[in-house]
Symmetry: C2
Subunit: 694 residues, 2 copies
C-alpha cells in the first residue's frame, strides 16, 4: 500500500469517530424493529365448505350462475398452486403457506348493524319453509333463490368476512382473502337481491369500527365487481369514514342492478359527500388498460388522500375475461396489478372478500393471481395497457365531479361566473364584424317568433344574395377552439386560446368569382338558457331547429329565381339540418346544383327517401363528402359505404379546419365547373322539371 | 337433515361431475407453477468496503459531502434492522435475509460502452499521480476529487451495479439494492463531474442488454436523485429502448448541474424521442405529496405503457428530509411508496443503485425503507399526501408535452390551427361592440408608431370623456374565461366556455352618475406574433407597455382640465402599469382623486418613491385595495401589511369577477363621496398644490 492509501485509510478511521459531525445522529433513534414485522406474517385464507349448502331447492336444467362450486374451485386452485397446506395441495408449498381463518356464524347484532331486524328475521324464517314456499319466494324476488340452508350459509359468509377483516385489521395476518358465498354487495337494508342476502363487507366494516375504534376508523371499500354495489353505497352514503369506490358497467342504468344510483354523479350526501365514487363504464367489453387507467387517475389518488386504516376489496371476478354475465376482459394479471396498488395503502392492511364471478376458470385464475400478490409474488406484466376512448371519457367525467371533494383531484370545476356570456355568442359577434369588414356581409332578418332567437346574428349574406348568380349557402358549426386551461382552476387565458375559422377562405373565393353567399352559423346549444357553468351536451333539437331555419331561408332568401344555381356547403353537424330539408321537402333537390359536406366526428348522413326515388342517386352524382380518416365509416374495410352517403372522399386530416384547408382547391374547381356549366345550360332553356344532373 | 337438504347436497355432488359445462376447463391448463417462484427468492445486496477507498487525498477541515462513510452507514443500518446475516446484525433476523451480490471491477470494455477510451485512460492515470497532481485536478474540475484509489473504487462501483442488475434481470434474486459509491449519474461520455467518475447505471444497463438480449431489451431508469442525471440523459438521448425519467430540482437551470438540459422540454431525440422525461421542480422544498403526484400522474402511466423488461432506480437520497444540499423533504415512507409502485413493473425486476445523498441519517433511513419494501414489508402511510401548486403546475406541463409521445398521456396538445386567431382579439372586438351598443363607448385613437399595435381597439371612452366631469379610468385584464376542454383533444366547445365581464356593471353605474369613463383592456400577451398553438407565459414587458400607454393617455386624453376629478380603477395585473405611472411621474398623484384596485393572484404593488415623499401616505389615504382571501399578502398573520400597499380589504372571494361583484356597493359609495366632495371643493377654489386629501 502506498503512503497516501494508508493515509486515506487513516482518514477513514479518523473520520468514523467524527460521525456525529454529519448529523443529529443518536443511537436510540437509530434502533429499529428488527426483521420484517409485517412482511414475515402469513396471508390469511377463509374458506368453509358449509357455505356451499345454499343452493336452489329445485335446480332447473339450466345451472344457476351463483353456483355453490364457485368457492370450491377457487379453493382448489389455491391448493393446486401450493399456497395452502392441504392434502389437495401439490408441492413444493410456498415457503409460508396461507394461515387459516375460521369462518363463524355472524350474530344477529352484527347483521343488524347494516340490515333491519325484519330482514334478518325474514332470512331466518326460510329455514323452516317448505320447498313450495321457497320456490315461491324465488319466483317473486329480484334474482335470489333460497333453500333451508340459505340462512346458515349467509351467516357463515358474513361471519367469514368479519373474521377475515378483523384478522387483517388486528395484524394477525399480513393481509387476507375470504373465499365466501353467498355474495353481499347488492343486499340492502331491508332487501335481499342479486344473489345477495346479507351484505358481508359492510357488516364486517362496521364490526371492525366498533371493535377496534380509532385503530380502524377510516375504511376504504374498493368494489371491482362488474355490477354496482348498490347495497354498499346505500349503507355508507352519508358516512364520512367509509370511502366506497365502485368500478362497474352502467349502460345508462340498464345494466344490473339498474337505475341511476351507479352513475358518476352519485357522490354521497351530508357528511359522506365525496366519499362515494362511482366509475360507471358506458358499456361492456372493458379491459386491463381501462381498469389501470381508472386506478391511476381516480382510485389511487383519492385513496391516498383518504388514507384508510383498512382496505376491503369487494372482489367480484365477473369483469374477468370469460365471464358471460360481465362481458369484460380483465386478465388475472390486471387483478394482481390492482391488488398490488391497493397494498400501498393502510400499511398493507388489505382484506379481499369474494362477491360475484361465474366462470369457474376465470374466477379461479383471478383469485389465484390476487392471492399470490397478497403473498408477495410480483404481479405479471399486462399485454394491454392503454385505455379506450370510453374509459378516458368516463374517468375524465369522474375526475371533474370528484374534484369538488378531493384536494388531489384536478381540474377543479369552473366556478360560477357572475353574468357570464356563452363564448359562442362572443365569437359569432366577432365573425359578423369580420365578415362585414372584409366582405360586407350583413345579417338577414329572421322572423323571431318563427325561429329560435338563437339564430339572431347567425345568418349573414353578401349584398348580391338575391341576384341571379350562383348562390352558395354555407351551414357550419361554430369555429373550433383550442386552449390550455389552468390545470388547477380550469381557467383559460384568452391569449392561450385560438380559434380556427376556415370559412373565411371559402367566402373570399366565392365572392371573387362573383357568386353570392349566405353564411349560416349553427350553435351547438340552441336554447337561450344563460351559462350554467355546467358541462352541457350538444342540443338534441339542434337538427330540427336547423331544418326549420333552412326551410325558412329557402322560402324567403334562396328560392327567388327558378333558374338560379344553388349549392349547399355543410360543415360538421350543422349539415344534418340540410339533409333533413332535402329528405322532407319534396323535389327541392331538383333545384339544387350540388352539395359539399365536411364530416369529422358527426355521423355521415344518408340522403334517401321512399317518396323521392331519385334522391339518393341524385345525391351520389351531385355531392362531394369529405370524411376524416379516423371516422367510423371507414372502419369496415370490406364493404364500401352505400351510395346513399354520397360521393365519399377520405381526408387525411381529422379536424374540420384542417380538412377544409386540405380540400380547398378540389372544392373550388368542382364548384366552378358546375356553376359555369349550369349557367350555360340555363342560357339555352332546358326543361325545368328534370333533375339538373344525372 | 331434511329431505330437501340431502336433496340439495346430492345436487352438489351430481353437479361436480358437470363441471365442464361451466367453462372450457382442462387440467393441463389448470396446473400452475407451485408456490411463489419469484416471491420466495431473496432480495440481493451489493456492498464492498473497498468502495470506501476513494476519498480526498488532502481532507480539509470541512468534510466533503461525498464521504466514504455514506455507504458504511447505510450498510450498518440494514444490519441493525436484521436484514443482513452479519455479525453486526441484531436479531431476530428477517426470515430470509438478503443475498450477497459480490462487487467486481468493471472491465475497460464495459466502461467504454458508455465512456470514451480517453476518459477511461484518464481516470486510470490518477492511480500513479502525486498528491500535488491529484489536488491540482480536484481544483480544476467540476465538483470532483481524486486519490490513488479513486480508479479502484470507481471500477468496483460500476462493477457492483453491473452484477446487481444482472442478478435481478436473470432472476437470481427477487430484486436488489447496490450500496455503491462513487455515484455515477453526472458522469458524461468524456467527463467526470459532480462527484461522479463512471456512470454506473448506464454501464450496467448496456451490459444487461448485451448479455441478455431480448430477455432484457427495454430498460427503465428512474432517477429520484435531487439533481438531474445529465450523464444518463446524454447516454440514451436517442435510444428508444431506454426510458429515462428524472425527478429533480431545476430552479430555472441554476441548480446543479445547471443549464437547460434538465428542463421539461428535453424529451429525447430521433428514435429516442419521448423516451426522456424530466420532471423539473421549480425550487427546493418539495415533499412527499409532490413526489406521489409525479408518480401517479406521469411516472407510472408512462412506465406502464413502456412496459420495461428491467427497472433500475438511480437512487440518490439527497431529496430526503435532512439533506442540506437537496433542501427537500421526502420521507423514508415516501421512498418506500415509490419503490412499491415501481415493483408493479417488469414482473418485479427492480434494481436499486445508490447515487447521491449526504446526510448519513437520512440516507440510512431512506435506504432501509426502500430495502424493506423490496423484501416485502408493506410501505408505511404518508403524513402528507397532497401536492403543492408548484408540483401540480410542473407535472401538468410535463403531461402536456409528453402527451405527444405517449398514448396514455392526456390532454393531447392542441393541434396547429390553420389561420387561427387569438381569442383575446375576438373577445375585445365583442366587448367593443357591446360597449358601443350599450353605452356608446368608442375607440380612442392611439398613435401607432408610439404605442404597441396591440392596443388598437383596447382603449374605449364615453362621449363625455373630455368634459369637466369626474373621470374614471379603468385598466383591466382581459375577462376571465372558464371552460371544459375535451379530455383527449383539448378542443373546446364554444357553448361550454363562459366569459365573465364585470366591468359592464361598473361602467353602467359611472355613466348613470353622469361621470365619464375610459375603459382600457390590457392583453396579457402584448406582441403581435400569430397564435403559435404553444402555451405562452404572460408577456414580460406588459407592465412597461402598460405604463407607456397610461402616460400617453394621460397627456392626450385625461389631463385637460386642471380641476377635473380623475380616478383610476385597476383590475388584476393591468394595474401595475398605473402604479408605475404614479411612481415614475413626479407629482402626477396630486392630480388623482382616488385609486381602486382589485388583486387576485398578481402581487400587491407598493406605491412609494424616494423622490415623492408624500406618495405612500397619499396612497394609503386615497386608495381602496381589494385582495383575494387566498392571496399571500394575508399569509403573515402577525405583521399587518405596510401602508405602502394602500388601504387593504380582504375579499371573501378568489376570482376578480366575484370580488368586483361582492364590493360593488362599497366602491360606488366611496367613488360618489369623493367625486361630489371634490366637486364642492373645486367650487370654492382650493390650493391646487396640496394633495387632494389627508
Amino acid at each position: 500500500m502506498s503512503d497516501s492509501e494508508t493515509n486515506s485509510l487513516d482518514n477513514l478511521v479518523k473520520r468514523d469517530s467524527l460521525v456525529e459531525t454529519n448529523s443529529d445522529w443518536s443511537d436510540e433513534e437509530v434502533t429499529v424493529r428488527a426483521g420484517l414485522p409485517v412482511g414475515s406474517l402469513a396471508t390469511g385464507l377463509c374458506y368453509d365448505i358449509r357455505m356451499r349448502y345454499h343452493c336452489e331447492v329445485r335446480p332447473t336444467s339450466e345451472v344457476h350462475p351463483e353456483d355453490p362450486r364457485r368457492i370450491y374451485y377457487i379453493y382448489k386452485e389455491l391448493c393446486r398452486a401450493g399456497l395452502v397446506d392441504d392434502p389437495e395441495s401439490i408441492h413444493p408449498l410456498a415457503p409460508q403457506p396461507m394461515k387459516r381463518i375460521n369462518a363463524r356464524s355472524a350474530t344477529e347484532e352484527e347483521i343488524t348493524l347494516i340490515h333491519s331486524e325484519a330482514h334478518y328475521a325474514f332470512v331466518k324464517s326460510t329455514q323452516d319453509m317448505s320447498d313450495e314456499e321457497l320456490v315461491y319466494l324465488e319466483n317473486n324476488r329480484d334474482s335470489i333463490y333460497f333453500n333451508r340452508l340459505t340462512f346458515t350459509s349467509s351467516l357463515l359468509s358474513a361471519g367469514g368476512a368479519i373474521e377475515t377483516c378483523l384478522a387483517v385489521a388486528r395484524r394477525q395476518v399480513k393481509n387476507a382473502i375470504a373465499v365466501i358465498r353467498p355474495p353481499g354487495h347488492h343486499a340492502e337494508h331491508d332487501t335481499a337481491m342479486g344473489f345477495c342476502l346479507f351484505n358481508n363487507v359492510p357488516v364486517a366494516a362496521r364490526v371492525c369500527q366498533n371493535v377496534l375504534g380509532d385503530q380502524c376508523r377510516k375504511i376504504m371499500i374498493l368494489d371491482w365487481d362488474v355490477h354496482h354495489g348498490n347495497g354498499v353505497q346505500k349503507a355508507f352514503y352519508n358516512d364520512p369514514n367509509v370511502l366506497y369506490i365502485s368500478i362497474h358497467v352502467y349502460q345508462s342504468g340498464r345494466f344490473y342492478p339498474g337505475g341511476d344510483e351507479g352513475d358518476w354523479d352519485h357522490c354521497g350526501e351530508g357528511a359522506g359527500l365525496g366519499k362515494n365514487v362511482n366509475i360507471p363504464w358506458p358499456d361492456q367489453g372493458m379491459g386491463d388498460g381501462d381498469y389501470m387507467h381508472a386506478f391511476q387517475k381516480v382510485v389511487m389518488p383519492i385513496a391516498l388522500e383518504f388514507d384508510p386504516d383498512l382496505v376491503i376489496i369487494s372482489a367480484g371476478f365477473d369483469a374477468a375475461a370469460g365471464d358471460v354475465l360481465g362481458g369484460c376482459f380483465v386478465s388475472p394479471s390486471c387483478y394482481a396489478q390492482m391488488t398490488h396498488m391497493l397494498m400501498t395503502l393502510a400499511n398493507g392492511k388489505v382484506a379481499v372478500c369474494l362477491e360475484g364471478g361465474y366462470n369457474f376458470r376465470s374466477i379461479s385464475k383471478s383469485a389465484l393471481a390476487v392471492t399470490k400478490t397478497l403473498m408477495g409474488e410480483p404481479p405479471e406484466r399486462l399485454s394491454k395497457t392503454t385505455p379506450t376512448q370510453d374509459a378516458i371519457e368516463t374517468v375524465g367525467r369522474v375526475m371533474n365531479i370528484q374534484a369538488q371533494y378531493w384536494r388531489c383531484m384536478y381540474p377543479k370545476p369552473p366556478q360560477h361566473l357572475t353574468g357570464a356570456d356563452r363564448l359562442h355568442d362572443v365569437i359569432r359577434a366577432y365573425q359578423a364584424q369580420q365578415l362585414y369588414e372584409n366582405f360586407k356581409l350583413t345579417a338577414l332578418f329572421i322572423y323571431r317568433t318563427k325561429i329560435s332567437k338563437s339564430f339572431e346574428n347567425q345568418v349573414l349574406a353578401s349584398a348580391n344574395y338575391h341576384e341571379r348568380v350562383p348562390l352558395i349557402v354555407i351551414f357550419h358549426d361554430p369555429p373550433e377552439l383550442m386552449g390550455y386551461p389552468d390545470p388547477v382552476t380550469s381557467r383559460l387565458e384568452a391569449h392561450n386560446c385560438w380559434m380556427a375559422d376556415t370559412t373565411k377562405d371559402y367566402i373570399e373565393w366565392i365572392l371573387s368569382k362573383g357568386y353570392a353567399v349566405i353564411d349560416v352559423n349553427i350553435p351547438k346549444h340552441i336554447s337561450q338558457t344563460p351559462a350554467t357553468g355546467k358541462f352541457e351536451k350538444e342540443d338534441e333539437n339542434r337538427p330540427t331547429a336547423t331544418e326549420e331555419l333552412a326551410n325558412y331561408l329557402w322560402d324567403n332568401y334562396i328560392d327567388f329565381h327558378e333558374k338560379r344555381e344553388v349549392f349547399f356547403l355543410g360543415i360538421g353537424g350543422a349539415f344534418s339540418g340540410v339533409v333533413n330539408l332535402l329528405i322532407n321537402r319534396e323535389n327541392l333537390y331538383k333545384r339544387v346544383s350540388g352539395i359539399i359536406s365536411f364530416v369529422a366526428e358527426n355521423p355521415v348522413r344518408a340522403v334517401s327517401s321512399n317518396t323521392q326515388v331519385w334522391l339518393s342517386k341524385w345525391y351520389r352524382d351531385n355531392s362531394l363528402v369529405f370524411v376524416s380518416e379516423s371516422h367510423s365509416v371507414w372502419k369496415d374495410k370490406e364493404r364500401k359505404p352505400s351510395k346513399r352517403y354520397g360521393k365519399l372522399y377520405k381526408s387525411s386530416k381529422s379536424s374540420l379546419s384542417e380538412m377544409m384547408t386540405e380540400s380547398q382547391q378540389q372544392v373550388f374547381e368542382w364548384l366552378a365547373d358546375r356553376a359555369d356549366e349550369a349557367l350555360d345550360e340555363t342560357e339555352d332553356e332546358i326543361d325545368e322539371d328534370l333533375p339538373m344532373k344525372g
